[in-house]
């Protein structure tokens, strides 16, 4: 499954170094990792409070925002686990299992990277943008969309690393509409797309790229129990009828292989009671 070149996985109990509340339901959690994380852009970690006890039970998959001695994640509070993360104070110990999964594939020389993201999907794309900047190639284009201006965490950092185009559904910032409206205009043959965000968004991006024959890599999101290939809880249907296990064969995959029809019955995030005690 996971190719031999990938960094060694480990379960480390790391103290929270700081938690930055960056507006709305978003927080950046930074951990103190003396040994250092070798995570590559697109890889993820299974995160759990070391003091959570028996519930919530399972660790939560989170994309690396940064690696190294101060690995960090960007979280959106949506339920019991992220609620606790969004409430954590410096010093609180967290168990991080990682780095896990397939990273973004290396960018193709001669092709300009186009990063298309929505919401917290921006985390692995920001990590990628930073490494591309290091690589010295052409600055990537980024198309970043949200429901409104407050659904664009870390857009400022992204702006420093890319030619940034912003879209909001309510028009409160950037182009009114969806990321695909902008992508339609910008997408050229000598480009390659990396996308992460809601299934419905990625499905449309994948479709557009396929129709123009532009390579597209997507980072899949699906529930996970183990994150390292033993529970078989994370299958994603492929066009060839097989299942791809997102934790080890993904999360980053060639978008053309994915059967995006599943996106149709993906959660329509609407009026929600927060998934916690009330």
């Amino acid at each position: 499954m996971s190719s031999p070149v990938l960094p060694k996985r480990r379960l480390a109990t790391l103290p929270l170094l700081r938690r930055e509340s960056i507006g709305g339901l978003y927080h950046v959690l930074t951990f103190d990792d003396p040994e250092g994380s070798l995570a590559l852009p697109g890889q993820f970690t299974m995160v759990r409070g070391a003091e959570w006890g028996d519930a919530p039970l399972l660790p939560r998959p989170m994309s690396y925002l940064t690696a190294g001695h101060t690995p960090s994640i960007l979280i959106k509070v949506i339920g019991e686990g992220t609620l606790r993360m969004g409430r954590a104070e410096p010093g609180e110990p967290f168990a991080l299992l990682g780095p896990l999964g397939q990273p973004w594939r290396a960018s193709t020389p001669g092709r300009r990277a186009v990063l298309v993201g929505g919401g917290v999907g921006i985390a692995p794309l920001l990590f990628l943008a930073r490494s591309l900047a290091g690589g010295g190639g052409k600055q990537p284009i980024a198309i970043y969309g949200g429901r409104s201006a407050k659904d664009l965490p870390l857009d400022d950092e992204l702006a420093t690393l890319s030619e940034l185009h912003i879209t909001t559904e309510d028009g409160s910032r950037g182009t009114k509409g969806r990321v695909t409206d902008v992508l339609k205009e910008l997408l050229g043959p000598d480009q390659e797309v990396f996308t992460c965000g809601p299934d419905r968004m990625m499905a449309k991006v994948a479709e557009l790229c396929a129709s123009r024959d532009v390579p597209c890599e997507a980072s899949l999101e699906t529930p996970m129990a183990c994150g390292y290939g033993v529970c078989l809880g994370c299958p994603v249907p492929m066009t060839d009828g097989s299942y791809l296990y997102a934790c080890t064969q993904g999360p980053c995959v060639d978008a053309r292989r994915v059967d995006w029809s599943r996106a149709d019955h993906a959660p329509k995030k609407g009026v929600t009671l927060l998934r916690t005690k009330s």
């Binding site: 480990r10 028996d54 078989l232």
Partner: protein, 302 residues
């Protein structure tokens, strides 16, 4: 220096800590974490005669102190297991328990015969209690007569030790366990999951594509402990305990109830080294009390 070795019938285990089927892959995913050959044994993902793709997503969801799964016995099939997985496990000296599943007695026997041709299989565990497949599975497990039949058929088909895994949903589990003992089982493993359900109220739809899923994790422990206690009091073959075991305390608790060994399942998802951690904890406990692991068996039965 306490002895940790445990006898399960004719089979001698290095120690009483095994990993549970479906919660440890094929035991080959742990190179980054520890040497699984240290364990008393590993139970493979349930093997069927032919490969199975498993159920569509969603296959899992979390519940209070537990989880539901409806994997649908996705597995490479016994043939591929023998060809691609077993050789490596054998090389590494891993004690391999082949967990097998079929929807007919004939297929249980066919899988067994395929395994007979291999060396490096320490025992066969019959999963007659999978809640996530339409035919076979749990229906076998609820019925003492059918369980006895399957056990007897496999028993005569192999020289390997035969373990039978109990369904907690049987109306009379003790009767099922006894039927398996009479049919020649070398050990009883208990328990498999109990069917549960979860609904996403935002979308008014069931969380699992399979509708129901097997309930596992720490939340299940008190039910599993009661069942292990009941079975251990009713049969004279060893009982191997499963159900929410995640700490050294849990291992000691199940052994005190009468279990000769335990299997660590869902805990592997929270900590890939869970089985190694409780093994180290058990060793430390035995040393500090100056007892052998054997001495813990049935300690609370008076």
């Amino acid at each position: 220096m306490s002895a940790l070795a445990i006898d399960i019938g004719t089979l001698k285990l290095k120690n009483p800590i095994l990993t549970a089927s479906g919660c440890f892959g094929y035991g080959l995913e742990y190179d980054d974490f520890y040497d699984v050959a240290e364990l008393g044994g590993i139970c493979t993902k349930g093997l069927s005669l032919n490969p199975r793709a498993g159920n569509p997503p969603e296959r899992i969801c979390e519940t209070p102190a537990g989880m539901l799964n409806a994997i649908g016995l996705a597995n490479v099939g016994v043939e591929a297991f023998c060809r691609e997985k077993l050789p490596t496990l054998r090389e590494r000296g891993v004690t391999v328990v082949a967990n097998i599943f079929a929807s007919s007695v004939a297929d249980f026997v066919a899988i067994t015969e395929r395994l007979n041709r291999e060396t490096g299989v320490a025992a066969i565990e019959l999963n007659v209690s999978c809640p996530n497949v339409t035919e076979g599975g749990i229906e076998f497990g609820k019925d003492a007569r059918m369980c006895g039949e399957v056990t007897r058929a496999v028993r005569v088909a192999t020289k390997l030790p035969v373990w039978v895994k109990m369904s907690p949903e049987a109306g009379n589990i003790v009767a099922v366990a006894k039927a398996c003992e009479e049919a020649g089982a070398d050990a009883i493993t208990a328990i498999n999951t109990i069917r549960g359900m979860s609904i996403d109220i935002e979308q008014n739809k069931l969380r699992l594509a399979n509708r129901t899923g097997g309930f596992s994790g720490p939340a299940l422990r008190p039910i599993a402990l009661r069942i292990v206690w009941e079975i251990a009091g009713a049969v004279s073959i060893p009982v191997i305990a499963i159900g929410g075991i995640s700490t050294t305390r849990d291992v000691i608790e199940f052994m005190a109830a009468g279990a000769s060994a335990v299997q660590v399942g869902t805990a592997n998802f929270v900590d890939p080294s869970a089985a190694k951690r409780v093994l180290d904890g058990l060793r430390a406990h035995c040393e500090s009390r100056g007892v052998d692991a054997k001495a813990l068996i049935g300690a609370a039965r008076g």
